[in-house]
Each structure stands twice: as C-alpha cells, then as structure tokens.
C-alpha cells in the first residue's frame, strides 16, 4: 500500500531517490525536546527552534516547496512535493512547524499576491524562518465566515485595521498573518478584502496577541486584537471586494482540495515506535479496557463494553478503508463524496472514542492529567474535551453535514 506502487515520472523517480538519500543522511536524530502532538500545539521556543531548524535544512536541500517556481523560492519541479512527502512520512521524520504558512498562506499568496510580494514572502515562508498564522474567525463569525467585522478603512494608500480575531494558532510565534477583512459594510460577500499583515513587528503597536484558554485548561490558541494598525495597500491580495474568492483558495487548500500539494513531513513525536496511529485510536481502548475495572470485573470482559469498543474499531477501520477506496476509480461515483466526509467522520469518531474511554475508566475518569494515578496519564478526559475543538473548528459538524447534503447529495441549500 505504498505510494511507490504508483508510476513515477523519470523526474519523480530521480527526485525520490534524492529525497530518500538526503533524509537518510539528514533527518533529525531523536531529541530530548518533548515534541507536541501537532504543529498547532507548539508551546515553547525550544520546540519551535528545533522544528524550525529542521524545516530550514529540508528547504535548503530542496525538499520543501519544490513544485513552486524558482523565482518565488521554489524548486521549479513538476508534481514532486508528493514524492518528498511520501518519503518524509515513510521515514517518520518530525513535522514542519510552519504548517499554516505551507498549507494555506503559500498557495494563497502564490495565486493572489503581486509578484514582488511573492518573491519577498515565500522564500522565508518555505524555509520556516517566518511562521505564519491565519486571521479568519472572530467572536461573532464562526460558521458564518463571511460575516467577519474586523474592518479595514482606507487612509491614503494605507489601510487602518480595527477588530478582533480568535482561534489564531501560532499567532504568538508568527511574523505574518493572512487575514480576511471587511472593507465595506454594504455587501456581505463583496464587502470583504484579503490581506497579509506583519503582526510580530506590530506587537504593542496596534496588535495585541493574547492566549485563549481552552476548556481543558491548556493554551495554544490566541486572540489577536487590532487597534488602528496601519497596513500598506501593497499587502492586499487581489482586488478590494474580492476577499471571499481569495479566502476560497485558502480554504480549498486547508481541506486538501486545492491545486498545490502542501509540504508535509512525517509526524514523529516523542513516543515509542509503532505507537503513533493507535495511541488515541479506538484500538487503544482494548488495552485500556484490559486494565480497567467495572462492576467487579475487568472492563474488557464486559460484553456491553466489548460491543461498544468493536463499534468504534469498526468505524475507524471503515474510515481507513474509505480513504483507501476514495482513490479506486471503479469503487466511487462522485470523487468528492468520500473526501468531504473526512473531517466530519474523523472528528466524530475521535469524540465518541474518547467518550467511551472515559466510560471504560469509570470512576478513574475523574482523574486529570496532573494526577499521578490517572489511567493513561489522564489523556482520555483531556482528549474527550479536545474532541470538541475538532467538531467545532474549521466548519462545525453541522456545517459539514450541510456541505455534504448540498455538494454531494445535491439537496437544496439550508442557508
């Protein structure tokens, strides 16, 4: 089931070998730095430095941004990023820290910015020297993104920005923000414009970054307040009033449905070999049940618990097999039908799995991460709470069901 089964072009075949060799020689060794579970959860500068160094080296070697033109700092290759990604993943390297930059900002800037700005911004984005964040959601604009109210008022050849963005991961480390702003109150969609904004240099001078605390007690997200921040008009992407269309480029790439492949490197975190996939997965419920007691017997011997664990394992296997099937021409009708289910399904399976885990733990699920006696180090009650981040963020489950009903089943729009 490896990507190598696909037929490489000569360029890809050569590049694959180059990547393999380079990674073998240059992949970061094990580190004492405790790596986070995802790039969005980078908490310390120690973590950031380690991961930035890795991205820079991979970029300098030509493994990041390889399909972008040379003029903007890319590698000028044809459809080679997926080759590099596959090799990173096979080698289980750590991930790149500039995840929003690579996945969302780069394609958006590439398709919508002035040539001069592309050349100025993209090389340091690819290298990871500049971390990027995203300013879309606001307190009053969650599911309904087009209702954003953070306002950009024209002032000579500059814009004056005032407002409030929330859920901006990595903002405390970010140099740049891609941001959706309102430039007219008269039109909902056509009143939006899209900018890139230097935020690190403006901290304390019109930009305030504050951590948002999640219900778990963790930080990681931020809110960003803009008070009369002046931004040059050259930071605007595409025309005034075309912000919604630009945002669609960003969102398409966020969902993996855009034209450009996002550079992705592995996902090694500080764990033992082979544990990655299942550590929070349904299969790990079996071990949990074997070490948990319910009503005087081992939870793994309770048929009701067994039944429920099997349900989650089956859903998880079904999810995995559906991803596999989504690439088999003969077994799909609508090519978007499975990919558009991805987010909904993954987030709800994770939620139900975590919820079931707390029931398996029983009374011990009351114990949280700081308790030395908590089963699985308190991971499950935390995962349960964090699962709501996934069913809410980036399109709630309710919005996902609308999208599926409308785009795949072609039912009339609900809104």
């Amino acid at each position: 089931m490896s990507d190598t089964e696909r037929k490489d072009t000569p360029e890809q075949a050569e590049f694959r070998q180059y990547c393999r060799d380079w990674i073998a020689a240059n992949a970061p060794a094990e580190t004492s730095v405790r790596l986070p579970l995802s790039p969005l959860e980078i908490m310390t500068t120690e973590q950031l430095d380690y991961l930035q160094d890795w991205q820079k080296r991979a970029y300098d070697a030509g493994l990041v941004g390889c399909d972008y033109p040379v003029e903007v700092g890319g590698g000028g290759r044809n459809d080679c990023q997926r080759v590099a990604n596959a090799e990173f993943i096979t080698a289980k390297t750590p991930f790149f820290p500039n995840v929003i930059g690579l996945g969302m900002a780069a394609p958006t800037v590439f398709y919508h910015a002035q040539e001069e700005k592309k050349q100025a911004l993209l090389p340091r984005l690819f290298s990871g020297e500049d971390i990027w964040c995203q300013g879309f959601s606001e307190p009053g604009s969650g599911s309904d993104l087009a209702s954003v109210q953070t306002f950009a008022e024209p002032k000579g050849d500059k814009w004056l920005i005032n407002g409030h963005k929330v859920w901006t991961s990595l903002a405390h480390f970010a140099e740049w923000m891609i941001i959706l702003l309102r430039t007219s109150k008269d039109h909902k969609y056509d009143g939006l414009s899209y900018f890139v904004v230097p935020i690190r240099s403006a901290l304390g001078k019109g930009v305030t970054v504050r951590p948002l605390i999640k219900m778990t007690g963790e930080t990681g997200f931020n809110e960003v307040i803009f008070e009369n921040l002046e931004v040059d008009d050259s930071y605007r992407l595409d025309e005034v009033g075309k912000g919604w269309q630009v945002a669609m480029t960003t969102l398409a790439h966020e969902r993996g449905a855009g034209q450009l492949i996002t550079p992705q490197a592995g996902g090694r975190v500080q764990r033992k070999e082979g544990e990655e996939e299942s550590e929070q997965g349904a299969a790990s419920l079996i071990a949990l049940a074997k070490s948990s007691q319910r009503g005087g017997k081992t939870a793994a011997d309770d048929p009701v618990i067994r039944d429920r664990i099997m349900k989650e394992i089956i859903r998880e296997e079904g999810f995995r097999q559906s991803r596999r099937r989504s690439r088999v021409q003969g077994l799909i009708d609508d090519p978007m039908r499975i990919p558009l289910q991805h987010k909904l399904r993954q987030s709800e399976i994770a939620q139900d799995t975590a919820q079931l885990a707390t029931e398996i733990e029983g009374a011990a699920s009351s114990l949280y991460i700081a308790d030395p006696n908590a089963p699985a180090a308190g991971r499950w009650p935390m995962a349960h709470m964090n699962s709501y981040g996934f069913t809410i963020a980036a399109g709630t489950s309710e919005v996902q069901r609308n999208i599926l009903g409308e785009r795949v089943l072609h039912l009339p729009k609900s809104k």
């Binding site: 011997d301 067994r306 559906s322 099937r325 021409q329 039908r337 309710e398 089943l409 039912l411 609900s414």
Partner: protein
Amino acid sequence: MTQPVNFGFGEEETMLRDSARKFFADNLPVDQLHAVIAADSDPHRDLEAGWKPELWQQMVELGWTMLAVPERAGGLGMSAAAVAGLCEEAGRAAFPSPLLPTINCSYLLAACGGAAADAALEAIVGGAAASPALIDSRGSWEEADTDVAVVDGKLSGTAYYVQDAQKVDYLLVKARQGDALALYWVSIDAAGIEVHADAIVDLSRDQARVSFDGVEAVEVSGDAAAAVATAMPAIWTMVSADMVGAAEWELQTTVEYARTRTQFEHQIGFFQAVKHPLVDAMVEIDQSKSLVYNAACAIDSEPENATRFAHMAKASASDMAVFASSRAVQFHGGIGFTWECFVHIYFKRQNHNQVLWGDGAWHRARLANILIGVAA
C-alpha cells in the same frame, strides 16, 4: 500477505459490475419488480415465489453463477471483489433470484475440496442453482449445531431458514454423522425431501423449512466445520454487499424524493431534519461499502484476516441497512408507508438481510473474541 491498494477491483471487475447494473436495470426496473413480487398485498397470500426464471437463465448464461467456482471445477475462479460487485448490484435491484445462495454454495463447496465437491461445483457451472441448508431451529449454523442427522447413511431431520428454497435445484446440507459433521449435496427433488415455505416479510426472497426423511445424498465433506469456517467470510461479505447496494438505492431514491417533494414552500431536502440524516445514511453506506471491499480483498489476498474483516463488514452493513431503510420510509412520509411506494420492498429485504448469517451485535461479539480474546 498484503492487499493490493485497489482492493483488486480493476477494470475487469468494474466491467462486470457495470454490466450487472445494466442487466438488472434493463430487465427488472423497480416498477416491474413490484409487479412481479408485490402484486398481492395480502399477508395470507399463497407462498409462491415471485421471480422471473427466464432472467435467472440469462444470468446463468452470462456466467455469473460460475464466477466464484474455482477453475479446477470448470468455473471462472474470479476474485471475491468481483463477486461482491455483482452482489452489490443484485442488492441495488432487490433482485429476486437464487444468486446469493448459489454463490454461497460455491464458496462452501470450494472449501470442501475433493472429487464429490468438485462434481457438485460442476453442476453449478452447468446451470444449477443451490442453497445452503446449514441452520438449525434456533437460527444457528455454528459448531455442531444442526437438526439434520445421518441415520443409516440417509439424511433425516429439518433444516431451517433455507434461502430461496423454491428457486433452487440442489441443497448443501450440514448433517451430524456420529461424532462428525458432514456436508451433503442433494437434489431438492430427491425422495423424502419436503419444502415447507415460510410466510416471510421479505417479498424479494423465499425461505423454507426443509424436512428430510431418509434422504439419499452425496457426502461432499467429512469436515463441515472446517468448510463452513473457510467459506463464512465470503458468505458474510456477499450479503453485506447486497445490503450496500440496496441501501444506495434507498438513499438515492429518498434524496430524489427530497428534491422534488415540497412542503412549507421548500423542497423537504432543504430542512436539516431531512438533509442531515440522509448525510448520515450516506456516511454509513460508504463505511460499509469500504469494509465490504476490504473483506472481499482479504478473502482474495489476505485470508488470515478474512474473518475479522468480514465480521466488520457484516456488523457495519447490518446496522447501516436498518438505519438507511428506516430513514427511507420516514422521509417518504405518508406515501412511504403505503404498499404502492417501492420503498417497502427494500425495507423488507434489508431487515431480512440484517438477521441473515448474524446481525450487528452478533458479529461484534465474534470480532471481540478475535481482537480482545474470549471474555473471562
């Protein structure tokens, strides 16, 4: 062993599936199906099997009943993935025929090995339809369970829940023979056999109790338990494929209705109370379909995992089929509750499929024994 990325579902399998879809759609569209199997609504009607034997003859001629027969017995020896594609289409058409039981017999006989079993397979290749008669009065086919015994070399007893018994030529009978369990191949017209048709809910199938009174039959396996264990993943997978096809029909038909039926100045699919459960049905169908082809592919190329993956497929498909059928009736509203609306044909077939060869909870319990170990 590992599975091919594409489930072994390539061009040949796609062509077979597409031609099956066309055959069923051309020859028995749902209005004609309704006329064939639902002409009489009286629950106390005569227990005649409603089907089109001439279409079955064409299917035989197309070679569909020899797909799962090994080449050594003159069959096509095609992959389980290919057979699943055919079964999915039969389910989509709610097609009345002995296809599924005949395919099930192919897998059972192929697992028997030996000349007698191969001779039986050759009968299938020759156009015979057959049905497994494995199940006892309690609905179980497991271990030593059977209510048929071999007495003085002849079969005596009763087999229950025999599918499409009124449409087949042969039965494959599980019988207790002293301490052993054997499989026997016997013509349904053999002396001493009586077929007592059940009055069932499902209009697209028939089912029977079959009694044996000193019936001469051919032993095709002296180790029924082994043959059944080997064939069971395929039997579970194929009925699951049938459910996936039937559910997709239910989904598409209900979606179409939701796009045309207007209430409160909106097409009813506008309302999230209709739209979102239809999406949920789609997601469940896709999960089951993926698990079906994964199980089929395991049968073909990863047999050590076939049982666990087939349990997953049938567990998923059983729950999915009940849910998709329920929403199809509900969202058709008043008309969906009538005999004239075609949905009830699928509702009934799916609720039958659900309990055939183990329902969702049953398969999950077996899967747990594999993945967790038998409970203390």
